[in-house]
Amino acid sequence: MIEFFVAPLQYGFMVRALIGSVLVGVMCPLVGAYVVTRNLAFMGDALAHAVLPGMVLGFIVGINPAIAAVPTGVAVAVLVRIVSRRAGFSTDTSIGILFAAMFALGLAMLSLSTTIRVDMEDLLLGQLLAISPTDIYVSLGITTVVILGLFALHHWLLFASFDPVGSQVVGARANIVDYVLLVMLALVIVIGIQAAGVILVMAMLVTPAATAYLLVRRFVSMMMAAAAIGTAAAVTGLYISYHFNLPPGPAMTLVASGIFALAISFRRRVPA
């Protein structure tokens, strides 16, 4: 049994993958708690796709794609708010427009570039097993920033999430808090993409938080439970992928979905 857990760690890439999966398992669900309770799932999905041009640009100019993805994600998050405010469309519509436009831009850059050969599958499904030390440092940096942000703005985030109108009356801060949340969302998505890829990052963002929502009462407990469930799913998924020769992204997703299915059967809360 101990062999099951220890044997894979004799390889450097597996140690890095384990660190990466813990970071994804903690960070995506922490922010995911806001995603689930504020109906931001589509926004999250869009951000994950929209950072593609940034990553491709990273490959072209030879910097770490995760570093290049950060400003792209932040820019798109801010753009969505601006477009929906200025053009008067619903947030959903604005997200749909920007999401497709940015993803298409990334694909166009990818096929026009003659210098890089990136496997599209790696981008879409993640490459946790090929995660580099630089990727880990980027993820650790993002983790520090997001944890500090969540801690410092906790009460403002609660206020703006529960009562958007009431919080706006108190000051322009509520608006800034919403932007900061979107920026943090873009940041954790960058960590998530490394592990699970553009498509399956949603499983880390939404599924553990939704599971926690069914099991606990208060928002803070929900964040903690979501992080625990996310970590369990990510690490279990990684070991399953090693021992059964599966790609890690789908393995993590399936574990997280399995826990969600169990929670549905034992839930305390019916979603409002």
């Binding site: 309770t37 504020r38 410092a152 703005l153 403002w156 999430s161 108190v170 009462r217």
Partner: protein
């Protein structure tokens, strides 16, 4: 009627205020004054512009013409508290009564500071004051309509607000709880705060307000309840049905 002045007595005055909403002039030439220590009911049918009026006072909607003046009220420091309509609150968000009351401390705490002992004591005191100490750990979704409104009032108190705006405060609140809410608001008023409560259904509680503003896109009447509810005003507000209400004495004259 007005008690001793509150240390930071606020005053509100609106002069010829016109506000557009959805491309239509939702309010025309609204003028009225409210002194410190006033509980004012804002009544009018659906679509009369009550929410628009509150949004304009709160600074959420631009005033097209005229002027809203809030004397000695600094919105940024939380002096103005807004209790929104039920529909604009995110009930899916799982917070307890205590969490919501603590939100009132946000603007006093500023950016990155965390609440301290004094903040927690104030939250406890305000919950106790509105009669919800026993329900402090209940989720907002587990509370009744009247209890939820009282949580929001407690939040306004921790915010140290001098002006409270309660939009459609009676919707989803049964008659007994409406009475309880008005009683709490009267004690808040007694400290010199200004309380404005909007409601579309004329209950027999209208007589419990110090002032009533009858609104139907313009000010139909403004004054003490026993003066404003005349058949003429009721017809302007609710049409022929309103006149029957006034004649039946349900328009607030009973008390």
């Amino acid at each position: 009627m007005n008690p001793a002045p509150y240390p930071h007595a606020a005053r509100m005055s609106l002069r010829d205020v016109s506000v557009e909403f959805d491309g239509q002039m939702a309010l025309r030439n609204v003028s009225f004054d409210v002194d410190a220590g006033t509980l004012m009911g804002v009544v009018g049918p659906n679509g009369a512009g009550k929410s628009t009026l509150f949004n304009a006072i709160a600074g959420l909607l631009p005033v097209r013409r005229g002027k809203v003046t809030l004397h000695r009220v600094d919105r940024r420091s939380g002096a103005l508290a807004y209790v929104p309509q039920r529909e604009s609150v995110n009930w899916r968000f799982p917070v307890t009564a205590m969490d919501v009351v603590m939100m009132g401390r946000c603007c006093r705490l500023g950016w990155c500071r965390r609440p301290g002992k004094r903040d927690r004591e104030l939250v406890d005191a305000c919950l106790y004051r509105v009669g919800l100490w026993d329900h402090r750990s209940a989720l907002m979704t587990e509370l009744s309509g009247g209890q939820r409104q009282r949580v929001f009032v407690a939040r306004a108190l921790t915010q140290e607000a001098t002006v409270l705006l309660l939009d459609e405060a009676f919707s989803g609140v049964d008659a007994g709880a409406q009475e309880g809410l008005v009683e709490v608001l009267q004690t808040v008023r007694n400290e010199g705060r200004i309380v404005l409560l909007a409601t579309h259904d004329l209950t027999n509680l209208a007589g419990r307000f110090d002032q009533v503003l009858c609104l139907n896109r313009h000010v139909c009447a403004c004054g003490p309840p026993d003066e404003v509810f005349t058949s003429e005003v009721m017809e302007q507000l609710y049409g022929a049905h309103g006149v029957r209400l006034a004649n039946d004495g349900e328009g607030g004259k009973r008390r």
